[in-house]
Amino acid sequence: MRRPISATESAARCVATVALALLLTGAADSPGHVPEPDGLWQGVMRGYTPNSVKGARVLDTAEAVRLIEEKTPVLLDVGPADKRPASMSQTTPWMPAHRSIPGAVWMPGGGSGTPDAQFSESFRSRVAALTGGDVERPIITFCHPECWGSWNAAKRLVGFGYKEVYWYPDGLEGWQTEREPVTVTPDPVWALAAPADQPK
């Protein structure tokens, strides 16, 4: 006969299950429960992200589609570029193709959390050029799900004083469930500022 499970036992099992789940996912925080860091995120760039960015608004795919149609925001893709593994033979075709939202400016490495002043200045001046210096111009930042780069980019833009910053955490993967992406090449101006982050 099965013994009834006491409340304590059941709680202990529950804790064990949660602990196991955390172990399995390898992340200290579970999805949906990641606190916003005070400043820019400087840890692993892929992993569970917070649900919000203070001072910015969060978009789902439907909202992103609508905003792009209605307000022609600046679209900032900070997704990382693919790098050829060093051990791969030079005769193996290496043809990275970065897909993005049509009209997006691809700034690989632009989501870095580095405190470097020169990086910040490069990012600030490039975005200023893209918005025509208009702090009212809406900007959407994105990369991929569980990618801190677009979170950092949104955080920086809020800090620069942009009034309408949108973070689109579902990124390219969210977009391609609804709309066709296009292949883009890195923004040439940004490529000069972040040469190490360009596709190779």
Partner: protein, 276 residues
């Protein structure tokens, strides 16, 4: 995406090694590539085809080769692919090309006299929604082409859900299972190789850096003195690869695997001891 963790974990823990049933034979189904922007996808394919095959003509492969892949994959790091060939013409080899992966050529099989090339199964990683092309190269050099659009994304950066050390445990372990073995007809084999096949795009959650690429480059299978196949592959192959193939056993089956660190593993199997 997260829901696939359990699946990935289960597979990496060895369920894959136990689930050996060969994939059921599926009828060839030619299917046009989907997508709102076929022009850009076509241009991409022409670019790859030019790199791979230069100006060699490619023919519609409908009667020769078919590719069976899920239209929408549950787990982009383990997308099953089945290539089925007609036995009407002799085939030298096949290419499996994932157009939008950074290294598009996922697999190139070259068949030998001990091969029964009618069906190959393997699992691949897919980076974003993409066309997948399967090309058969006939013995006379003619190329036959088929395509399938696959909705899967993120398979290249998906972590294995365990530490790198854990993922590398037993690396190079080779298993082979043979079905339908008899002296007078081809056999179906399932080959399993333990290897994380790190592609350099996965983050190690402990060290907070990218796990360096380390992946299988070649797998050669012989039976007796004859080649079954040579496989050239790289980072698009899923971790712990499982490859289904056909062969005409001609004695001891030898499997040799080489990875990008030039590590080499070999194992021989006595054909008579392999049946179910």
């Amino acid at each position: 995406m997260r829901a696939t963790f359990a699946l990935k974990l289960a597979l990496s823990l060895g369920v894959a090694f136990a689930a050996l049933a060969a994939a059921p034979f599926t009828a060839p189904s030619a299917r046009a590539a989907a997508g709102d922007d076929p022009a850009q996808r076509d241009a991409r394919w022409l670019d790859i085809a030019k790199t791979m095959f230069q100006d060699r003509a490619r023919q519609n492969g409908e009667a020769v080769i078919s590719l069976d892949a899920p239209q929408r994959a549950l787990d982009a790091s383990l997308v099953p692919m089945t290539v089925t060939l007609s036995d009407k013409i002799p085939i030298k080899g096949i290419y499996l090309i994932i157009d939008d992966n950074p290294s598009p050529v996922a697999a190139h099989f070259t068949f030998g006299p001990a091969a029964d090339p009618r069906q190959i199964n393997l699992r691949v990683r897919i980076n974003s929604y993409t066309n997948v092309h399967a090309i058969a190269e006939a013995a006379d050099g003619t190329l036959y082409e088929t395509v399938q659009f696959v909705k899967a994304a993120g398979g290249c950066s998906a972590p294995m859900g365990m530490s790198d050390e854990e993922a590398m445990k037993g690396m190079g372990e080779i298993r082979l299972k043979l079905a339908d073995e008899s002296s007078d007809k081809p056999a179906r084999a399932t080959l399993m190789v333990r290897h994380p096949n790190f592609n350099g795009m996965q983050i190690n959650q402990e060290t907070r850096g990218y796990t360096p690429a380390r992946y299988i480059q070649t797998i050669s299978v012989t039976s007796g003195d004859n080649k079954v196949f040579d496989l050239e592959t790289d980072i698009s192959l899923a971790s712990n690869p499982v490859i289904g193939f056909g062969l005409k056993p001609q004695g001891e089956i030898k499997v040799a695997v080489t990875d990008s660190e030039k590590d080499h593993w070999e194992k021989s199997f006595a054909a008579s001891h392999l049946s179910n």
